[in-house]
Amino acid sequence: MELTFWTYEGPPHVGAIRIANSMRGVHLLLHSPQGDTYADLLFTMIERDRKRPPVTYTTFQARDLGSDTAELVTGTLQSTVDRFRPSVLLVGDSCTAELIQDQPGTLATGAGLDVPIIPLEMLAYSRKENWGAAETFYSLVRGLLNRQAPEPGWTRPARPQGQRPKVNLLGPTSLGFRCRDDIIEVQKLLESVGVVAPLGASPQDLLRIPEADANICLYPEVADTTCAWLQRTFKQPTISTVPIGVGATRDFLQELAETLGLTECEVTADAVCRLPWYSRSVDSTYLTGKRVFIFADATHALAAARMAREELGFEVVGLGTYSREQARAVRKAAKDYGLEALITDNYLEVEKAVAELQPELVLGTQMERHIAKKLGIGCAVISTPAHVQDYPARYSPQMGFEGANVIFDTWVHPLVMGLEEHLLTMFRDDFEFNDDKVPSHLAAVGGTSHRPAEAPAAEGADDAALRWEADAEKELKKIPFFVRGKARRNTEKYAMERGVAAINVETLYEAKAHFSR
């Protein structure tokens, strides 16, 4: 058993619903108890879908367990096919059904229905939502394409002279983070696109996947397994750079050109992207070295870390992910930043890390938004799990050059701005203009009510050996709130390292000098 307060990912069958809901003509029959129908609201309330997801739940009850739940499956199968007439029917178990072992997939395959059946194995007790989505997408693609798989040893013929290369975009899903807009933005970068899937695709579209020259694995969490299988089976190379950020988008185009044997790539960032200039503009100087903490799904965490450091000039002070499947890449990246990656799906550990590190900006999921709010730190959401406000009405991709623009604006917004930072220090005694006030552009976010209690001291600082003298405490209060936590932490660290028991004003400024960069 694992004690869980909040979870980053739902169970695997929610991943299966995401795939079904992404597509046209696909229906999912889920053997599950009634409460599992809550999953509908993820789509209709968070993503504001206009239709119920294409799922039929068997909603068995205790009284059915005594008799025959398998019969319930068989009955539901027929009525579902009659009502929805899907092109493909996915059949799977939720966690409870997995235990009663009715094998709905097998029942469906043997039921003589005139619709292709794809049985799903969801492994509810060891896997999670993203894995469920990846597995479902893979089962679907493989199930539909297996028949056209060429002989092993087959080699893909070279693209005929003069034929434009074509690529598939794989991985965007319903309930994914900004997938809706990313696929539009990425398509702007490409000459001709084959299949975009699963979002918006039909099973018939999936049949055309092998026609393309390569697959772009846009969201590895969902499309990794499928791309690897397509590469093995249909010898389609995978383009695996995720184009989030200016640098990554350039690399993506480079990889694309190399993979497809194109000689030149004419798109340059400066022509279409404002981020490079905005980041060089003098008003951005204050962004330099802002301490940022990043925790998200692996794709977005990795992209955010690179952008933060290379494109906004932040200092990455923490990096982590809840995606254990992709943990290795995040560990490696963290190492490059001189950090140890935080790999966990326990939000309490993330909260602890944020409290200790006292970053100036948190980039995370809705969980981190709550953590940051609680600690009074600015935050931007960069990944699922996300809430209804992160499915905005406006066009706001993360990928490609416009995505980089969107991200620049989004991350800079929660920070106290340059001049304002100076003014706050200068007029810290002004009763109306002091650090109990929120940045003026954020006033509407809730006035001063989110200003946290004094940031928690660093681990071990409540040790009786360490004491703040009154004058030092007073001096600390004069430091603006957004750096006060850091100042306290650094001073205590400095004092502890030097065995100073009582912190006075001198210690405070000694420490400041020591840590100045």
Partner: protein, 424 residues
């Protein structure tokens, strides 16, 4: 699916149709969202799967800002393969909870579908853990599973379990027990009214503290504040409590009849009752005037959800002038609906249980002005041009009593007012 027909106990009225098929309802775990706010020194530990954890956080809509007083012990492969000893695992998780929240006085061990299917015995575990933390923390088990309970039945199941453990009241003095979680503000209003009426002692069940749960005995007069407490009622009756037959306190009429049931049981003089209730009742009626104007003649349909459907339909029809379409309810309990049924108009269609797709077809065909439904279905109906009211809001907001009558009606007028305002 089969549509068995029950013989009606309302002469001349339509029978209650039972439906079996796909249901679109939450399970009883959902009620933890309000129970954990109500009982402030209790912790709700669900023994279940990732689905259960995800349900509670999704149904709550937002993360609760403070550290939650609920969590899920998520079963893993090794628990199912028998590699881990369930008792040891539970002990370990319970110890973790108690270490984190040392101020907790009661831990509810809440069973789920997976824990029930693998027959994890939480009653036994509660007993064992109770002995282990002797005197410091109490452990009480109940079922919130989707195979046993629907949405609000989670509270029913919780209170049923608590009922068996309430202290005995053998004082012989009549006492009033008001059962069903109410928002504190409503509870305080009712407490004032009972005091003015001269009714006492009054105990609210559940109490705000798990260590101050009310006593029960043959002298207990039970008044239900929530319509979904059938099993809890029977458990309290087993302890000697006498159920007062009353409609539920929605609207001016409902609240008056509800208070009157208590007043009659406690021998309050009619004149005095009139004197105490006249002013708040008039206030409630005044508050209902404006909403009634908007609601009169409008047609409403209920999809099954909270068991609040029948009393709400009664209020909307009798006090707000609405016309009733189909009233769906997840579960129909003769005993707890005894005073409501006669107040409903003849011929109204009541459906118990659910077969989702045909039911949605009926809604589409009838095109009511307003449909009360679960969160998952609201937007799809809206996109078809139908106005909806999410039922979960009815459980989360203060809607009982005189001073909330206007707010209750307001929950139904708002979607209609919005429709009139929007020009896009």
């Amino acid at each position: 699916m089969s549509n068995a027909v029950l013989a009606s106990d309302r002469p001349g009225s339509a029978p209650i149709t039972q439906e079996r098929g796909q249901r679109a309802v939450f399970c009883g775990l959902t009620s933890i969202i309000w129970l954990h706010r109500k009982i402030q020194d209790a912790f709700f530990l669900v023994v279940g799967s990732r689905t259960c954890a995800h349900l509670i956080q999704s149904a709550a809509g937002v993360m609760i800002f403070a550290e939650p007083r609920f969590a899920t012990a998520v079963l893993q492969d090794r628990d199912l393969a028998g590699l881990a000893d369930a008792n040891e695992e539970l002990d370990r998780v319970a110890a973790q909870v108690i270490a984190r929240r040392p101020e907790i006085k009661t831990v509810f061990l809440v069973s789920s579908c997976p824990s029930e299917v693998i027959k994890l015995d939480l009653a036994n575990a509660a007993q064992r853990l109770g002995e282990k933390y002797d005197g410091r923390v109490r452990f009480i088990d109940y079922s919130g599973s989707g195979i046993e309970t629907t949405f609000t039945q989670g509270e029913d199941s919780c209170l049923e379990s608590l009922a068996a453990k309430l202290p005995a009241d053998d004082s012989g003095e009549p006492a009033l027990m008001v059962a069903g979680s109410l928002p504190d503000i409503v509870e305080d209003q009712f407490a004032r009214l009972f005091e003015q009426l001269g009714i006492g002692p009054v105990h609210f069940f559940p109490a705000r503290s798990s260590t101050a749960m009310p006593p029960v005995g043959p002298n207990t007069r039970l008044l239900l504040a929530q319509p979904f407490l059938g099993n809890a009622t029977r458990a309290l009756e087993k302890r000697g409590a006498k159920l007062l037959k009353a409609p539920y306190p929605y609207g001016a009429e409902g609240t008056t009849a509800w208070l009157r049931a208590a007043a009659d049981a406690f021998g309050v003089a009619p004149g005095h009752f009139e004197q105490v209730t006249a002013a708040p009742r008039a206030r409630a009626e005044r508050a209902l005037e404006a909403p009634r104007e908007r609601l009169t003649g409008k047609r409403i349909t209920f999809l099954p959800d909270s068991q609040m459907e029948l009393p709400l339909a009664r209020f909307l029809q009798r006090e707000c002038g609405m016309e009733l379409g189909e009233i769906g309810t997840p579960f129909f309990d003769q005993q707890t609906m005894a005073a409501e049924l006669p107040l409903l108009p003849e011929g109204v269609r009541i459906t118990e249980g659910q077969d989702l797709d045909p039911q949605l077809d009926r809604v589409r065909a009838a095109r009511p002005d307003l449909t009360v439904c679960g969160l998952g279905i609201a937007n799809p109906l809206e996109s078809e041009g139908l106005r909806t009211k999410w039922s979960i809001e009815l459980v989360f907001t203060p809607v009982h009593g005189y001073d909330q009558a206007g707010d209750l009606a307001g929950l139904f007028t708002r979607p209609l007012a919005r429709q009139d305002m929007l020009e896009v």
